[in-house]
Amino acid sequence: MTRLPVPDSGDLRGRYPEVFDRPVSSRLALPAMLLGAFGIFAFGLVELEFSPARMLAGLNQLGWITMMMIPPDPGSSLPAYLVALGETLSIALLGTTLAAVLALPISLLAAKNIVPSNIFRFPVRRFLDSIRGVDTLIWALVWINVVGLGPFAGVLAIAVSDFGAFGKLFSEAIEGADRKQVEGIRASGGNALHEIRFGLMPQVLPVIAGQVLYFIESNTRSATIIGIVGAGGIGLQLAEQIRVLEWQKVSFLILMILVAVAAIDWISGKLRFAIIGKRAVA
């Protein structure tokens, strides 16, 4: 076996100073950042009262809970759970639709190519941002105060919090639309309404439909939790069963949620595929 000639390291160092002799500041940047990140992490562990003893006791307890969850068993309340699941799906569907309907006009106001003036657009955008900054659960709490406990509060909570998200996403879709088709309609003698109907809408609608479907999917997840504060659906049952420590029912409910979410994922995936077409998905 022949040894490869080892290049003279001094020569290499001279030729590539930017690799071998990086300034101290850039060499220390990464370790310093990591050290800082882990410093805060350690501080957080102490501040949030983590201790090995608590951790061990908790894991032990968690082990017990998991043991008691098996096998999942709804007891005699299966019909009630199915109704609750239906309620959850209804909340997701209605809330998302309501949000989409409300967000469409607002999103026109937030789109740069429709409202060029910054003075009008800026407050609309900030308004949408602050709606999005509040979690769905908080909206649910507020709506419960208004329309009372029950799934209707959940619908409104999802509608409001998605309204913020949709406003932003729709306005981006509108801004991304191609101007040429609008100009084409105008060139053939169409008026402003024709431009929006035949130039803008065919471009924007599939994108919007795809986003709405995606949100119905993700709202199925959100709708499962708003029941925790009393806004209806399967979350209400889940929170109750956890509080009374009926672990077999808890695991059954979690399984139901997983199956429902997977089913909705599958359906909306198919639908999105049908609406947007193969090209956009790939």
């Binding site: 957080g44 209605l94 709490l141 208004v146 329309v147 959940g154 209806g232």
Partner: protein
């Protein structure tokens, strides 16, 4: 003004129009059917969700007046007329907000570390064995499909009330969400450096360390920052179930009708989320900016 548009003979025009109508009719029929199904689903959903338009119309005034009430101090004056009175508990709330951010920070970082360790086993091109990949993928799916607040509910019972349950819940959820995103980045890398490193006789770990990690580090960091942003929102409601942070204070204020407190805490949460959004957005811009220049 002369017009240069040529008009086709009637017969030809009729033929073209016919073909056009046929093509459109089929599309319209499908569209109408889809709309009908959608509306039927909406009606069923409305019955299922106990939607009462009458209640809504009767109570919508409550919604508007709710915002009026949370903008009013106990003395009846508007909140902004006496900032000191409005934010009377700012010391306590600021500390709790700090705790909220810390919960999401520790949860995100711990989740990111675990996801980092697991994702190479779940990515198609770096996974050592198909069965391992399958198992890890299902585990991640489970972690991200169960909402973090459900984990928090269970952990509060196992680990006791307090921020620890919140951190662990956020951690578990982040492992699922980040693990998926990480492994997608890994699946999109250029495999040539990996082959290069492997051809020198390097072990699996060395391949990952010297060929994969340098390609994916910026993408990982960017997704982690995004997750942190999402988790701050999530941590703000952890207190609803007793898992620490500002949520506890908020839920008490809402349930006991301390109106001006509700608006003060909400405002603080919104501003915090806003600042975190801007901060992480800036950091991500810098990370990706660096990538684009290289």
């Amino acid at each position: 003004m002369t017009s240069a548009v040529s008009i086709l003979p009637d017969q030809q025009l009729a033929q073209l129009n016919d073909a056009y109508r046929k093509a459109v009719a089929r599309k319209r029929l499908r569209m109408t059917l889809a709309t009908a199904v959608f509306f039927a689903a909406l009606v069923i959903a409305a019955i299922g969700a106990e939607v009462h338009p009458v209640t809504f119309v009767n109570k919508i005034g409550n919604f508007v007046s709710y915002f009026d009430r949370i903008a009013t101090l106990e003395s009846g004056a508007r909140v902004w007329s006496d900032i000191g009175e409005w934010f009377w508990g700012w010391r306590k709330w600021l500390a709790l907000l700090g705790e909220t951010i810390l919960i999401s920070y520790v949860g995100t970082l711990a989740g990111a570390i675990l996801a980092f360790a697991l994702n190479f086993l779940a990515a198609e091109n770096t996974s050592p064995a198909p069965w391992l990949r399958f198992a890890i993928r299902r585990l991640m799916e489970f972690c991200r499909t169960v909402p973090d607040i459900v984990f928090a509910l269970i952990f509060v019972i196992a680990f006791g009330l307090g921020p620890m349950a919140g951190v662990l819940a956020i951690m578990i959820h982040s492992v699922g969400a980040l693990g998926k995103l990480y492994s997608e980045i890994v699946e999109n890398i250029d495999m040539k450096p990996v082959e290069g490193v492997r051809s020198t006789g390097a072990s699996w770990i060395s391949c990952i360390r010297f060929a994969v990690v340098p390609q994916v580090a910026a993408g990982f960091a960017s997704y982690t920052l995004l997750r942190f942003e999402i988790n701050v929102r999530g941590a703000s409601v952890m207190g609803f179930v007793g898992a620490g942070g500002i949520g506890q204070e908020l839920v008490v204020a809402v349930r006991k009708f301390f109106y001006s407190d509700v608006s003060a805490i909400l405002l603080m949460i919104i501003v915090t989320v806003f600042l975190i959004d801007i901060g992480t957005g800036w950091a991500r811009g810098r990370l990706f900016g660096k990538e684009a220049r290289a």
